[in-house]
């Protein structure tokens, strides 16, 4: 079967471009609750538990937890080279903007289609935040 490519407009918050495999979570993410050496989510009862965010285009509803732990969590992942490559979120808040700014990861929201309908884990996603474009290659 042929791979199907689709382009969506989005809203840039932190610029840059990156591409990689999508990892989709339906739950808010706290980067402090991942293994800083591998990027594996260790939060109890999380839908990503046991999966690694390393090198992924992470699609999730929003961030959570205090600013100190969230920022430090993502910073440690980035230092160890296991941070996500880009972040696509539904709802953004100050702490998530600051976190992505510090580690220089593209962050976008307002995908023109609901990201949870459009993107599945395993899809290949290109995020060009500067051009406000997300390109998706669905894995059939």
């Amino acid at each position: 079967m042929k791979d199907h490519e689709t382009t969506f407009r989005c809203h840039k918050i932190i610029g840059g471009h990156a591409e990689g495999e999508a990892l989709v979570s339906h739950m808010p993410v706290c980067f402090y609750l991942t293994d800083p050496k591998t990027g594996t989510v260790r939060e109890k009862d999380h839908d990503l538990k046991g999966k690694s965010v390393a090198g992924k285009v992470l699609v999730f509803p929003s961030g959570k937890a205090s600013s100190v732990v969230q920022i430090d969590g993502l910073y440690k992942l980035a230092q160890n080279g296991v941070a996500p490559k880009a972040l696509i979120v539904k709802d953004v808040e100050t702490v998530l903007v600051v976190s992505a700014f510090i580690v220089k990861i593209p962050l976008v929201d307002r995908l023109e289609k609901d990201p949870f309908e459009a993107i599945k884990t395993g899809d290949f996603v290109k995020v060009d935040a500067d051009k406000c474009i997300v390109t998706l290659t669905e894995q059939e």
């Binding site: 918050i13 969230q70 230092q79 709802d91 100050t94 700014f101």
Partner: protein, 416 residues
């Protein structure tokens, strides 16, 4: 928690920047100020802010962690200086702890030292206090400010009636450097509308009841602006501080109303700006008791007592000294009170610190309970009057109780 609706809005950012703001963003005032401005513009874009507004002061919830170190050094090395008074949160009293404990890892100490030095270089007020709104950096009614820190954000919005968003340490510092914040969130009156009605159906006796109430409200509201009714007695400063801090342990509460006692709306109706509450929650004595039980993980013998999360006020230190007067803390139990340098100075003048030390306790400054300086207690069991202290889990087990129960347990060496 109800999920916020998906934001449909512009995909192109159009925040208006003044000529001076453009110059800062272009790097004309140095690289440090430029980085600070870039962060503020990203936040403004995220919220569709139309412009920046001036702020009068900021509070950066500094911490001895690497993410914090990276950003404050980035600004300091880029020559940034705070344009408005910008206070700092506690890290730890480096000389004291390294003299007292041998096991603190060198690397952690190095991070803490560099963080504290970098905040000095950007010209911050080195308050090292998590309650700076009491002494070192006090907003006035209706001032626009940028205050991070769990008790500070709701206290400043609600008790004082200044306006601040729930800032991260770094966004607050960036605002302190630029002297501005994007116009969004709680700086806009419509966004300061109450969301949840909390009917308090019990008498709140003391700080600890307010602590439990804060924990309960944070847990059940999660995210929103609670409006509390049924409170019959004016809450004290300490009760309000503890309430504020705990709402941000179990939830994310940037503002609340207690009509009659907080400044912005004198009735619940006004707090809701004419709308209906999204939800109504009642709080009984039974609910608070259960919240307290939920927080206990153990009982029996203890190795330490940890007080001052948030930092103790002079009145709380006075109460601890009164309870400890003429008593001896049991051998093998360490007794700590964390406070600000300003408060300790006043407590020394009154002889309170001396009373606590005679009983075998310590009053430490510049220090947060969530710092690596406490590594000696990692596998130990303690007691605190703060669920926030228990929550961070730097310690093996932490029991939670009132100050007088903590003192009694310290003297007896155990709690049943």
């Amino acid at each position: 928690m109800t999920e916020p609706p998906m934001r449909v809005g512009r995909t192109v950012n159009r925040m208006h920047l003044t000529k001076e703001e453009e110059q800062i963003l272009g790097g004309e005032l140095g690289e440090g100020a430029q980085k600070a401005m870039e962060m503020l513009v990203a936040i403004g874009d995220a919220y569709d802010a139309e412009k920046m507004i001036p702020i009068t002061r900021a509070h950066a919830a500094s911490s001895g962690q690497e993410g914090d170190l990276y950003f404050v050094e980035l600004l300091a090395n880029g020559g940034a200086r705070c344009r408005v008074p910008t206070s700092t949160n506690p890290v730890y009293d480096i000389p004291f702890f390294h003299k007292t404990f041998e096991r603190i890892p060198k690397n952690e100490a190095n991070v803490a030292k560099r963080v504290m030095e970098a905040y000095r270089r950007v010209g911050a007020i080195l308050s090292w206090s998590c309650v700076p709104y009491l002494y070192e950096n006090i907003p006035l009614f209706a001032e626009n400010v940028a205050f991070s820190e769990s008790s500070a954000t709701p206290y400043v919005n609600s008790v004082i009636g200044a306006t601040t968003n729930r800032e991260a340490a770094q966004s607050a510092l960036a605002s302190g450097v630029v002297g501005k914040t994007p116009l969004y969130g709680l700086h806009i009156k419509e966004n300061r509308k109450g969301t949840h009605l909390i009917k308090v159906e019990t008498t709140l006796r003391d700080e600890f009841d307010y602590t439990l109430l804060g924990y309960y409200v944070g847990k059940h509201v999660s995210y929103g602006i609670p409006v509390l009714t049924g409170i019959t007695r004016r809450p004290t400063t300490e009760e309000l501080i503890n309430f504020c801090a705990m709402t941000n342990v179990s939830g994310a509460i940037s503002m609340f109303y207690m009509p009659g006692f907080t400044v912005e709306a004198d009735t619940a109706k006004k707090a809701f700006q004419g709308d209906k509450p999204q939800d109504t929650i009642t709080v009984s004595m039974h609910d608070l008791k259960r919240a307290c039980e939920e927080l206990q993980t153990t009982s029996g013998k203890l190795d330490f007592v940890m007080l001052g999360c948030p930092h103790y006020t002079l009145k709380q230190i006075e109460e601890a000294a009164r309870l400890l007067e003429g008593k001896k803390i049991r051998r093998g139990v360490d007794f700590w009170i964390c406070t600000s340098g300003t408060t300790k100075l006043l407590a020394e003048r009154d002889g309170l610190v001396q009373t606590i030390e005679r009983a075998g306790g310590h009053v430490v400054v510049d220090t947060c309970i969530d710092e690596p300086c406490w590594i000696a207690y990692k596998n130990k069991t303690g007691m605190t009057d703060s669920p926030k202290c228990a929550y961070y889990r730097r310690f093996k087990e932490v029991m939670v109780g009132r100050l007088n129960d903590c003192v009694e347990a310290a003297v007896r060496g155990r709690r049943e």
